[in-house]
């Protein structure tokens, strides 16, 4: 087949620069495949018939866009390496009489070829792997698998249009770069010398300060709700700080090394330190990018893994027993012993009819209210909250009052409290006051703060911290009972909670669940008689599908994004090595002439790589360690009991595995670098 002139030039260009193009093509292919797979799982409707996947589908959909946006940024970055390499060639064409227009045509063909290869290969690989991805996801969320292999045209169309757009943007960028430079500058662009950067103390110190501040925020955050806001602030600060420290700090660091004559004038360090300082500006940015990507991967993997493997305990927190009943009572009078025991009798009647005996029972009466707690004073007027900001928002608590006998019954304790005294259990936060007063008359002195956790759906579901106050009896709430919010509803919400296991199989549990709902839902006579305005009947077995799919889905998206970001980090490392290899080629040639042996060159390279290469990893590990308390707080929004050990293990494991992969990449890429430098002979 006879190719046209331009297509041939373009394909030759790609082939001759395969050391640069191959990784680029592999990345674009991987991104296309990833995007297709996500498309297959979302718009392709692969999960349509799997129950409980609505949330994951939307999560994945967002993930798909994250991948796309990231592709744009990242491919622009790698494309700039390619263009820099090619400029010399284009400059030569230009001098030999090719117009910018003709060069543009070569670029157009190159883009077409790149796009064609990566779209074809990407879609092919995507189609092959999509079933595996689907099976893995369904397995993660405990769904039922089927083994029908199919291709989703809709997903393919979306992927093709998104990535065609990206390739078009890349082409326009390249064209613009060629257009805006002269033939001579094209020819010289590659060895355009930069003057060695002066160490910028200000930026370096500022970077350290910003990083320090971010770390301080991360470590000192106390309650999870503030943590959400603080997390984003800290993330931005860490990114900015990392860039500043790496760009300026690394130059400073090298300058300091240079000042130490004995270290600097050592065959092993002499060459590496001086070349590092020389190109640290660009180098620093690359290192910072690698560091940020590594940190993102580590944070995502460690937290989603921890969530996934902690999902069973989270399920138990949210649904403490197989069946969890909660009745919302009109007022305190319906929480009388008589009324509650009659209601209990009605529940038991359903149990008996279904042939079930309640086990591991725990029930309690409670009254709850939300308010702003500051210095032991509670502001219950919600209108006072209207002008809230992050700091007041963080002191919003949910108070659950419980009669002490109910509390003792559930917690298995034997506290006694007098009037005006309370036992306090605080979740998701800490309080340091000894007295909590709601009004002038209603005030409690806290006699004990046990760590006992009393699972209650309210505090599992909501993000705000909870304080359980076990008081002598609910009558002691005094005037609180009469207070109303601006809608005229009582501010106190009275509930009777009844939770129990059945010892029966899933099917029987579901039957019981249906029977309970039949009886207590839309039965005006019953609700009128017992005085409940609403009820929540939850069966762990029934809810688990939705619940587990949430954690499985998060885990899955975490893995997908980690793969994408890891690919990016590896590629940045590779390109950094390659482009530096080409830059250093002539330097090492000179050094060889002056009398540097191969071994010395290798040693000098190793010294340079070791100093520079592990820096991002060390920084990423440091970021992760400081982020640990903050992420722990964030996770507590999804899982009440802080499964510290699990999170510590997943974090440690992620870091270990990541470091191992990092070292492998280091080996591979340093060889690529060495081959280029060696090729100088």
């Amino acid at each position: 087949m006879k190719l046209g002139f331009y297509p041939r030039l373009a394909s030759d260009g790609i082939r001759k620069n395969r050391r640069m193009y191959l990784p680029y093509l592999m990345t674009t292919t991987a991104m296309v495949a990833m995007h297709y797979i996500i498309g297959y799982l979302t718009v392709g409707g692969a999960l349509e018939n799997v129950p409980g996947t609505a949330f994951i589908t939307s999560l994945l959909y967002t993930g798909g866009w994250v991948v796309a946006v990231f592709s744009v940024i990242f491919l622009f970055y790698t494309n700039s390496f390619l263009i820099r390499r090619r400029k010399r060639e284009f400059g030569l064409y230009n001098i030999l009489g090719m117009g910018k227009w003709n060069i543009g045509r070569i670029l157009l063909w190159e883009s077409l070829i790149t796009a064609l290869i990566s779209l074809t290969a990407g879609l092919l690989i995507g189609a092959l792997l999509s079933k595996a991805a689907e099976l893995m996801l369904i397995n993660l969320i405990n769904g039922e698998v089927n083994y029908v292999l199919r291709v989703s045209p809709a997903a393919a169309v979306v992927t093709i249009s998104v990535y065609s757009g990206i390739f078009l943007l890349l082409l326009l960028n390249s064209l613009w770069q060629i257009r805006s430079s002269t033939a001579i500058s094209l020819l010289r662009s590659e060895n355009y010398g930069e003057r060695p950067p002066r160490a910028n103390w200000l930026v370096g110190v500022l970077g350290v300060l910003i990083l320090g501040a971010a770390y301080y925020i991360a470590v000192t955050i106390r309650d999870p709700l503030t943590a959400v806001g603080a997390f984003f602030i800290a993330v931005v600060m860490v990114i900015v700080g990392t860039y500043m420290v790496m760009i300026s700090g690394s130059v400073l660091f090298c300058r300091i090394l240079q000042r130490n004559k004995r270290y600097y004038y050592n065959p092993r360090h002499f060459v590496s330190v001086s070349s590092m300082v020389y190109r640290m500006k660009r180098n620093g940015a690359g290192l910072a990018s690698i560091c940020i990507l590594s940190t993102m991967v580590l944070v995502m993997i460690s937290s989603t893994t921890s969530l996934y493997f902690g999902q069973r305990s989270a399920l138990r927190e949210r649904y403490p027993r197989e069946l969890n009943l909660q009745f919302y009572m009109k007022d305190a009078s319906y929480l009388s012993d008589e009324n509650v025991s009659s209601l209990l009798w009605e529940v038991e009647a359903v149990n008996t009819a279904q042939g079930i005996t309640a086990q591991n029972v725990y029930g309690y009466r409670a009254a709850s209210v939300s308010g702003l707690l500051e210095d032991g004073e509670v502001e219950l007027d919600s209108s006072a909250l209207s002008g809230f900001n992050l700091s007041t928002f963080s002191s919003v608590y949910r108070f659950i009052f419980m009669p002490i006998e109910d509390f003792n019954g559930v917690a298995g304790t034997d506290y006694t409290v007098g009037p005006g005294e309370a036992v306090a259990c605080v979740f998701r936060s800490e309080i340091d006051c000894d007295t909590i007063s709601f009004t002038d008359d209603v005030s409690y002195r806290i006699v004990a703060k046990p760590d006992t956790f009393i699972p209650n759906p309210g505090s599992s579901m909501e993000m705000i911290p909870t304080i359980i106050l076990a008081v002598s009896d609910l009558d002691s709430l005094g005037e609180l009972r009469d207070m109303r919010d601006y809608n005229g509803f009582p501010i106190l919400q009275y509930t009777w909670n009844y939770n129990y296991d059945t010892g029966a199989d899933a099917e029987a549990q579901t039957r019981l669940y249906d029977a309970l709902r039949d009886k207590f839902t839309s039965n005006p006579t019953l609700s009128e008689f017992f005085g409940f305005t609403g009820r929540s009947i939850e069966c762990r077995e029934v809810e688990s599908q939705d619940f587990l799919s949430l954690y499985g889905g998060l885990f899955y998206v975490g893995i997908v994004l980690s793969i994408v970001f890891s690919c990016a980090a590896v590629l940045i490392i590779y390109y950094k090595q390659i482009s530096e290899g080409y830059e250093d080629e002539s330097r090492f040639e000179i050094m060889k002439k002056v009398g540097m042996t191969d071994r010395e060159i290798r040693r000098s390279i190793n010294s340079q790589l070791l100093t520079v290469f592990y820096l991002p990893l060390i920084f990423a590990a440091m970021h992760l360690i400081f982020a640990f308390p903050l992420i722990k707080k964030l996770l507590s929004l999804l899982q009440m009991i802080n499964n510290l050990q699990l999170f510590a293990i997943t974090t440690g494991l992620s870091l270990g595995i990541f470091a191992l992969l990092y070292m492998l990449v280091y080996r591979a890429t340093s060889n690529a670098y060495y081959r280029i430098v060696r090729g100088a002979r």
Binding site: G193, P196, P267, F270, V594, G595
Partner: protein
Amino acid sequence: MSILEVSNLRKVYSSRFGTSTVAALKNVNFTVEAGEYVAIMGESGSGKTTLLNILAALDKPTGGVVRLDGLELTKIHESAAASFRRDNLGFVFQEFNLLDTFTIQDNIFLPLVLSGVAHRDMEARLAPVARDLGIMELLKKYPYEVSGGQKQRAAVARALITNPKIILADEPTGALDSKSTDELLRLFAKVNSTGQTILMVTHSVKAASSAGRVLFIKDGEVFHQIYRGRDSDSQLYQKISDTLTLLATGGDGV
């Protein structure tokens, strides 16, 4: 006493499958005495660069022997070649070959650092060399901040600082303007007067006329040589010009 002996040196380049061969050096014989200043002249393609590469142990000859101070260069293993160059030879190149990542001072130190010389000794060695070459003020600057002539002087300093047995200069004036060329040649003469052996490859008559002896290479063989004797630079210049004319017009022998 001769410091460099080249006898029956041959270098044949062959294409990948050995189908065609080109003899860059056919049969080169000459010796350089210690303290001599020798220029080698020849046109492009005469084999000058090949010869210099072999003398620098950067390339292996096809046949023949090169002895530097009694040591047979052709027998040096490739891995030892680099340290041999570092310890025994000093280089001055046409394009200076200074590293842009180093200051002038560090560029001069490079061979010493590679040999593992202590920093204090380096400073001690640098001072007299830098003073002689007039580059004291440039030491802290980077190559891109100084002129071509200054770069070449720095390169000479780098070549001298190891006290090499011989300095090999490859077209050292090729990238210099006439003023810098004059300065550099005066410098070479001065360095030579202290007993330093210099071998310079050039096709500049002016550069060659500063040497004590001029060898002419043509088609891979030493074709002719001229001793300065008592001639002045300009007299030698004239002799070289005459010889070159003869070479170009194809005379057989002089």
